[in-house]
């Protein structure tokens, strides 16, 4: 990704369409704005929403609630879209949600082999590796190898369920609550929950005692 090592080479300045995506976007934005096809303030509002508001902290709150409230967890497993909406999350790329639960016997992993489908409403926009060819190609055929690259070695007896998001249903993994978290409240629990654990490429680590807050 990013500019080639000799990015300041101007040999190719005279192509009709500039190859630098930053220039292409700038030209397209200016064209669409001048034609009245997009409102530049709406563009800013969209960017702001995903940079500052919609992200994995949403999903972490859902997970923490499920860990402390068994009736919430039951609703979440039966109708994830409604249960997640109880916490105020939903809409774009979270219209149809399913939550899959990790247990000592079953580990779940989410992928989209065909493009980049991802539950935006609870996890925000997907990281580059999730959208990358290596992850998309291998998660379905070699999930154990992929998880090993993430530092997660699962026992042979553990069943791995890989969910390929081929339709408009978006998946969220409910990770196992870590040992040693018994004394934590819902807010503290949510802080333990990582994006990677909710995709299924990591487990939630036990709270570190005495570490800096």
């Amino acid at each position: 990704m990013g500019a080639p090592p000799h990015g300041h080479d101007h040999d190719h300045d005279h192509q009709v369409v500039p190859s630098d995506p930053a220039l292409r976007v700038k030209a397209l934005e200016s064209l669409l704005t001048e034609k009245g096809l997009v409102d530049p303030k709406a563009l800013d509002a969209l960017i702001d929403k995903y940079e500052r508001e919609v992200g994995p902290r949403n999903g972490a709150r859902v997970v923490a609630r499920a860990w402390v409230d068994s009736s919430y967890k039951r609703r979440l497993m039966q109708d994830a879209t409604s249960a997640i909406a109880e916490l105020g999350y939903g809409g774009a790329q979270g219209e149809h949600m399913v939550v899959v639960e990790n247990t000592p016997e079953v580990h779940n992993l989410i992928v989209c082999t065909l493009c980049s489908c991802y539950p935006w409403s609870v996890l925000g926009l997907p990281p580059v590796w999730y959208k990358s060819s290596p992850y998309r190609s291998r998660a379905v055929i070699d999930p154990r190898g992929v998880l090993r690259e993430f530092g997660l070695e699962l026992a042979d007896e553990t069943e791995i369920r890989v969910w390929d998001s081929t339709a408009e249903i978006r998946y969220l993994v409910l990770p196992e609550r870590p040992a040693g978290s018994e004394g934590l409240d819902e807010t503290e629990l949510a802080e333990l929950v990582t994006r990677d654990a909710m995709i299924g490429v990591a487990k939630v680590a036990a709270p570190s005692m005495g570490a800096s807050a």
Binding site: L28, G36, A42, E51, W129, Y135, S137, I141, T166
Partner: protein
Amino acid sequence: MNGVHDMGGMHGLGPVQYERNEPVFHAPWEGKTLALVLAAAAWRKWSLDAFRYQIELIPAAEYLRMSYYEKWLTAVTERLVQSGLVTRAEVESGEPAAGSRKATPPLTAAQVPAMLRSGVLATRDTVLAPRFQTGQPVRTRNINPTGHTRLPRYARDKQGTVDRDHGVYVFPDTIAHSLGENPQHVYSVRFTARQLWGEQASPRDAVYIDLWDDYLEPA
């Protein structure tokens, strides 16, 4: 289409490159591209599946070379031209054609929160009897359409078991080509890793794939 985008099960694409503390966008133009794609979609000139198909049409070598948002930028530019919202000459010059009328954007900043909150429902209330029941063995069809499809190659002509019925959804294979919504049931179908990959695969593991009625036959 049997494009390089349909990469489930491929080897040779390298190790997963993980970035710690990854920013939401790596450069301002990435955020701008996302915003342009969402704001342009508010014209409702194309479906999400048509946009996906446009990405699939990027030539294979380019597809593998481009970053994610470069693919989005290429696809949205193409959709804008094909829908008639802009001309290719305008894209190339970066300026509106002389005498073109100024439109009113369908999405304002004030409407952004509501637009994201409602999303776009792919479900339909159409009452349709499901062709398959939970627990029923099914076989995926052996189809190789040149258009858009969400039946991955690695899961064609394979036997699995219906795990759950998600309800009725619009059908990507037709909606991407403006051939109608063709609503039908979508099922989560469980395939054991060995059904998909043979004896080398773990006897424990499984892949669940969301599949439309038209992709399935009774096993």
